[in-house]
């Protein structure tokens, strides 16, 4: 594996072997000294051209637990505000000795361009509304650890799918791992073209919810225009929110995932968000292990 850019072309055995490694790294993170020397001397740069705290922290934690060094970069107050191009920024960071760049950018495809320009390994940390592959891997790991595997599971991805790179990554990875995925959203929040996606859709959450093993809630992304495509937040809650009433309609063993940060009272009720079957904090913990698996896969081999 050279780069991790998308889940779209990822095969089942590749995904599963990353998840297996992540299981091993969860054990490392649970030790009295949660750190191994595996990537000593390697440098991981986090190039986040969009604001992000949790994903960046998760990657930095993962790099440090593998004994890699980290360089971090944020666009405000940096050379980007002085007009430096993406290419020049990337080559500058590479010249400082980075071996791998985690790239988050609002422009779809930016990490692919970076991978063309640079000799570094590249991990897509989120490009526009396109892909966020490590999020999908950590979600798959969370489901696998909680329910034993994804084969035959019914997973509903609910909400703001149109503007969600998380949904686009999960739409491909979950079916690759054997799950049956239904997108549940108002038609205005579905992507214009889902031809070729291995998923079904529905706009009726109440009709679907009783058959789901996993409820995957997306954040209503007001900053990306999400709020302008339905009449009001309260109508959204009424039709698509995971209220206590709907939580009661779930199968007993069904679990709830959310990529965070949650809008309590919008896509998820306050009480449901604190229920032990809501695995948000497991997702966060598993995210560090998955990112360790990705960094180790990309930097732990020959010519890494």
């Amino acid at each position: 594996m050279q780069h991790l850019l998308s889940t779209e072309q990822m095969g089942r055995s590749e995904a599963e072997s990353l998840l297996d490694d992540a299981d091993g790294f969860l054990e490392v993170l649970d030790r009295p000294i949660p750190k191994v020397p595996a990537l000593r001397g390697r440098t991981v740069a986090t190039l986040f051209f969009e604001p992000s705290t949790r994903t960046r922290m998760s990657f930095e934690r993962a790099a440090k637990a593998l004994s890699a060094d980290t360089l971090s970069f944020s666009p405000s107050g940096s050379s980007v505000s002085k007009g430096e191009s993406l290419k020049d920024t990337v080559l500058t960071v590479q010249a400082m000795g980075a071996d791998l760049a985690v790239v988050r950018h609002k422009a779809v495809g930016a990490p692919w361009r970076v991978a063309e320009w640079a000799q570094m390994r590249v991990v897509n940390g989120g490009d526009g509304a396109h892909q966020h592959p490590t999020q999908a891997l950590l979600d798959a790991l969370t489901i696998r650890r909680s329910l034993g595997g994804l084969d035959g599971l019914r997973i509903g991805i609910i909400g703001d799918i149109r503007y969600s790179r998380v949904a686009r990554s999960n739409c491909f990875l979950f079916p690759t791992l054997g799950a049956d995925v239904t997108l549940i959203a108002p038609p205005t929040l579905l992507p214009v073209d889902t031809e070729g996606w291995p998923v079904r859709h529905s706009s009726d959450l109440d009709a679907e919810i009783g058959s789901l093993d996993v409820v995957y809630l997306l954040r209503v992304q007001t900053e990306r225009g999400g709020a302008s495509v339905f009449p009001s937040l309260s109508e959204y809650v009424r039709r698509y929110g995971l209220t206590q009433r709907r939580f009661g309609m779930l199968k007993d063993e069904a679990v709830v995932l959310h990529p965070g940060p949650m809008n309590r009272g919008v896509e998820v009720s306050d009480v449901v968000a604190d229920d032990p079957r809501c695995l948000v904090l497991d997702q966060v913990a598993n995210g560090v292990a998955v990112r360790m698996a990705v960094l180790f896969r990309l930097l732990g081999g020959t010519s890494g």
């Binding site: 490392v28 030790r31 191994v36 081999g301 020959t302 010519s303 890494g304």
Partner: protein, 177 residues
């Protein structure tokens, strides 16, 4: 491919090593056996079985994955990450590392780092089924099933029932023979 140990040779070697471990440590109190994947793991379990049969006390065993401690990261394809499973504390214990073949010593060096990340044992010892020589580091085994002089180009293969379906130790001639 020449067979150098039969199943019964392996059983006898493990039985002797078990006796030596008991003699060297004056019993099995405070002993922890850690197998190094892949074949060190079943060998550690077998040794624990023999020790229990002799002393009547169960000896804790565990799995020590060393992939993340190797000094050749970046020289080979990325290894898979195994899981370290050590349910008892190694603090102030006598840890016996168990592996199938002792060769360059680099795996054992990684294992020493891996163990000390789990705690501070009172002492660490090493038991191997085969010592084939060609050390690259100042490391030696405390308990050896069979010393097997080899040429560098030769290949030593240990098979165990638990992972390979049968027991046996084999030497293959490499290039140039």
């Amino acid at each position: 491919m020449r067979q150098v140990m039969e199943p019964s040779d392996i059983t006898r070697a493990l039985r002797r090593i078990a006796h030596e471990i008991i003699e060297g440590n004056k019993g099995v109190d405070d002993l922890v056996l850690l197998g190094i994947p892949t074949r060190g793991v079943p060998l550690a379990e077998r040794l624990a079985g023999v020790l229990e049969a002799i002393e009547g006390v169960a000896v804790p065993t565990g799995i020590l994955d060393v992939a993340l401690y190797r000094d050749d990261v970046g020289r080979n394809p990325t290894p898979n990450v195994g899981s370290t499973e050590v349910s008892t504390s190694v603090e102030d214990k006598t840890v016996v590392l168990v592996d199938d073949v002792l060769y360059t010593g680099r795996t054992i060096r990684s294992a020493l780092d891996a163990v000390t990340d789990l705690g501070r044992p009172a002492r660490i010892q090493l038991a191997v089924l085969i010592d084939r020589g060609h050390r690259e580091l100042p490391i030696r085994a405390d308990y050896v099933g069979r010393n097997l002089p080899t040429a560098l180009a030769q290949r030593v293969t240990v098979r165990v029932v638990e992972t390979d379906g049968d027991d046996g130790v084999f030497i293959e001639q490499g290039e140039g023979f």
